[in-house]
């Protein structure tokens, strides 16, 4: 299909919208579906069909609108009203109010800081378009970046824009994306591959899932542009099987993109050919590690191998491979469309652009947010997130999942970027933020993450396999009030050893939750050990000992 034909589809779609501006959008991402949004959607459809707006007000399923804790969410057009906690019984009232005053009892203010403080780049279409229709995406400037790259830019110019943008890998480590792309492009090889890492597995993280469920075409577009830039003709999306909705929408998206000639040969009527295949993960967290992921795609056991060589030099089937995270690819289309400098104007000195975070835990506004890099933790948690519920006291925020750490109150005014989080003993990670209040015991939190690492260790290298098991036992011992100070010393020794000797990132970062809680909440460890007391009242400290003595 030629660029002109694609443009025509987009303008027809826009014209159809203009002819009939009335529309009801229901969030059909996993969060709202779990609170019954599909029943709400059916009820709205019935209410529309049985009323005066029959055939004049389409009810569309859209992607994530962000404020998951108030789902199911419904928005109306043209008024732009947002309704929260909608039940199927509310359908008639909402449909009746499409062209009149809003239903106040269900209204959710768009003026909330939760919405006001956000900047949509990755999530610009999320909650706006129907993720199952490529026409919606095209009408929202979709694939304009691809056409621009293919017809107006040389591959090196695409990479130049990505480098200029200052985009860093959103999977967690923050490696400069432009540098990675140029490394792969410069590798001497006949065949190269592009892989999208959608094996999101950190507890409390659902950024990638939401992007895939809400705007899958964007990820495909980013990958195709990447394929053009690095000279690859084949891409893989490695998505965990625990995300059935994301998989279904990706499959739909790939089918529709193929149908319009945006995947396959002669993309956009040019010489460029690119295909994307889905590969499903079988439930191993370690397969999010790039070399393990590659081994899994190759059909082997999903275990990491030592780097170097890095995948950019020798990756999938031994060929140079570009592997980026979902959010990284989702950033590419707007960067190409608006230029790298536009993107670099957002964020901080060394962390550019925006970042999507999943806010969970003890926070009022649970959900998905996108904010500029450099916003302080206080603004994210207390303004955007609405603070800690039930008047309890904020204690710490856990970022970066099992590879990250717990950041205490004194760092709340720290700007959130890759470097400052690392300085505070945590990591940016993929963007999960678990807020904890004073009812959480930090030793218990560390134990939880260590249990996660222990059961997700692949077992290949000794420090991670046996070390995490020993550390977990020590943490359990501390929690149960059976530990002595020697055990704490042994735990610290093991943390140091496992961090420095493990083969892959999983083992190397497994001690982080322990190290960061030891750094900021050592007194809690000591209370468990010396006073056999859990200050937060979470652990059943000393119970066993009393029962035994």
């Amino acid at each position: 299909m030629t660029p002109e034909q694609l443009e025509q589809i987009a303008s027809e779609e826009t014209a159809a919208r203009a002819r009939n501006p009335r529309r009801l959008s229901v969030c059909m991402a996993a969060g709202c579906i779990s609170s019954n949004s599909d029943a709400v959607k059916k009820a709205l459809e019935r209410a529309v069909a049985g009323g005066p707006l029959k055939d004049a007000c389409p009810v569309t399923g859209v992607g994530c609108m962000g404020l998951c804790s108030r789902g199911p969410l419904v928005s109306t057009e043209p008024a732009g009203v947002l309704y929260q906690n909608v039940t199927p019984e509310d359908a008639g009232e909402i449909v009746g109010a499409v062209s009149g005053p809003a239903v106040e009892r269900l209204q959710c203010s768009r003026e909330l800081p939760f919405f006001k403080r956000q900047v949509g780049v990755v999530l610009e279409n999320s909650g706006q378009i129907n993720p199952e229709r490529i026409e919606d995406y095209l009408a929202a400037k979709g694939y304009a970046a691809l056409v621009q790259a293919l017809t107006e830019m040389r591959p090196a110019e695409v990479i130049e824009q990505v480098s200029r943008s200052g985009l860093r890998g959103r999977g967690g480590a923050g490696y400069p994306t432009g540098l990675k792309w140029s490394t792969v492009a410069k590798a001497r090889a006949e065949t190269r591959y592009v892989i999208c890492n959608a094996d999101e597995g950190d507890p409390g993280a659902f950024m990638d899932r939401s992007v895939l469920e809400s705007d899958p075409q964007r990820v495909l577009e980013g990958m195709i542009i990447a394929g053009y830039a690095v000279g690859a003709s084949r891409g893989y999306i490695y998505v965990r099987a625990e995300y059935p909705l994301a998989i279904a929408r990706l499959n739909t998206a790939i089918r529709q993109a193929k149908h319009l000639g945006l995947l396959g040969s002669q993309i956009g009527n040019t010489e460029f050919a690119f295909d994307i295949e889905l590969r499903l993960g079988a439930g191993a967290f370690v397969c999010g590690e790039e070399t393990a992921l590659i081994a899994s795609i190759e059909g082997g056991r999903g275990t990491p191998r030592p780097r170097p060589p890095y995948p950019a030099q020798a990756g999938l089937f031994g060929a140079p491979t570009l592997i980026n995270n979902v959010e990284t690819f989702a950033n590419i289309p707007p960067i190409i469309r608006n230029g790298g400098d536009w993107y670099a104007a957002m964020g901080t000195q060394r962390s550019k652009g925006t970042k999507v975070f999943a806010l969970t835990g003890k926070i009022n506004c649970t959900g998905l947010i996108e904010v500029p890099m450099g916003m302080s933790l206080r603004e994210i948690i207390f303004e955007v997130g609405g603070g800690v519920p039930e008047g309890r006291k904020f204690k710490a925020v856990q970022t970066g999942g099992p590879s990250g750490g717990c950041i205490p109150e004194q760092f709340l005014d720290m700007p959130v970027d890759y470097d400052s989080l690392a300085q505070a003993g945590s990591i940016m990670g993929s963007g999960g933020m678990i807020v904890m209040d004073d009812s959480s015991c930090m030793v218990d939190v560390a134990k939880y993450f260590m249990e996660f690492c222990m059961s997700e260790s692949c077992g290949k290298c000794i420090p991670c396999r046996a070390g995490t098991a020993q550390m977990y036992d020590l943490l359990a011992k501390i929690c149960e009030g059976r530990a002595a100070l020697d055990d704490l010393a042994m735990l610290e020794d093991l943390c140091d050893m496992v961090k420095n000797t493990s083969l892959c990132g999983l083992g190397q970062s497994a001690p982080n939750p322990v190290l960061s809680t030891l750094r900021y909440f050592r007194d809690e460890y000591l209370a468990h050990i010396q006073e056999k007391k859990c200050p937060a009242g979470v652990c059943a400290c000393g119970m066993k000992q009393e029962a035994g003595s």
Partner: protein
């Protein structure tokens, strides 16, 4: 352009000047010079996996410790193979292994011919600081000639690799993950019922401990591993 195989690099290992070919690893170069770096999962003639972490070395200019068995030499590299830190980590790695399963030498068929035992002695291991885990693991004696005792296994995967790379049978593989990992035959059926096992016994010969042994011998005789480099050499036609 890939560098020609004959490219020679010069580097320093523990302060000693060493020359090596560009495709050689630090371990190759060190051993050629008579310098010892402890290894467990490595075996000459098998592909390396860098899993046991005993051969980790320090390289000037890199904060990360790198496994000598898979890290290629580079011009001007300054490698330290013995430092207080490395020795501490190696001892801890060995202690983690001893505590992981059941490694009581006095009642083991491999006593006197065990790589783990030798490594323990070489590192002056007189006791293990970590609590022993003593998992209850099975033995499989269903094969006519061989036995696998999972309690002695250190998961070095030498058996997996020799079976796959040298014998070409791929009878062995690893099941499960983390602390629950286990080597298995075929799809975890008894070894004696394996369709793919050729009974060649190579796995038994390469096993570093008493996990794999021959039936009918109360004491293991020294394992024979000379065939491996020979086979590898003949295959590559070097």
């Amino acid at each position: 352009m890939t560098p020609a195989v004959s490219d020679v690099k010069t580097l320093q290992i523990d302060g000693i000047d060493v020359s090596a070919q560009a495709d050689q690893t630090i371990l190759d170069a060190a051993r050629e010079k008579g310098l010892s770096i402890p290894t467990l999962c490595h075996l000459d003639g098998l592909g390396d996996v860098g899993a046991c972490r005993l051969c980790l070395v320090e390289i000037k200019g890199t904060s990360k410790l790198l496994p000598a068995c898979v890290t290629r030499v580079e011009e001007g590299m300054e490698v330290t193979t013995q430092s207080e830190r490395l020795l501490k980590y190696r001892r801890m790695t060995l202690e983690l292994l001893f505590a992981e399963r059941n490694h009581v030498c006095s009642v083991c068929v491999a006593n006197g011919h065990c790589d783990l035992q030798v490594l323990g002695q070489a590192h002056g291991l007189t006791h293990v600081q970590f609590p022993y885990r003593y998992p209850k693991l099975p033995m499989d004696a269903s094969h006519d000639r061989f036995v696998v005792d999972h309690n002695r296994c250190v998961l070095c995967t030498r058996c997996v690799r020799v079976c796959d790379e040298v014998e070409g049978a791929h009878t062995w593989d690893v099941m499960s993950r983390g602390i629950g990992s286990m080597v298995i035959t075929d799809l975890h059926q008894p070894w004696g019922e394996s369709d793919t096992c050729t009974s060649c016994g190579k796995c038994v010969q390469v096993c570093p401990t008493g996990a794999l042994f021959e039936k009918g011998k109360a004491r293991l005789v020294a394992k024979s591993r000379d065939f491996l480099p020979y086979l590898a050499m003949m295959r590559e036609g070097k």
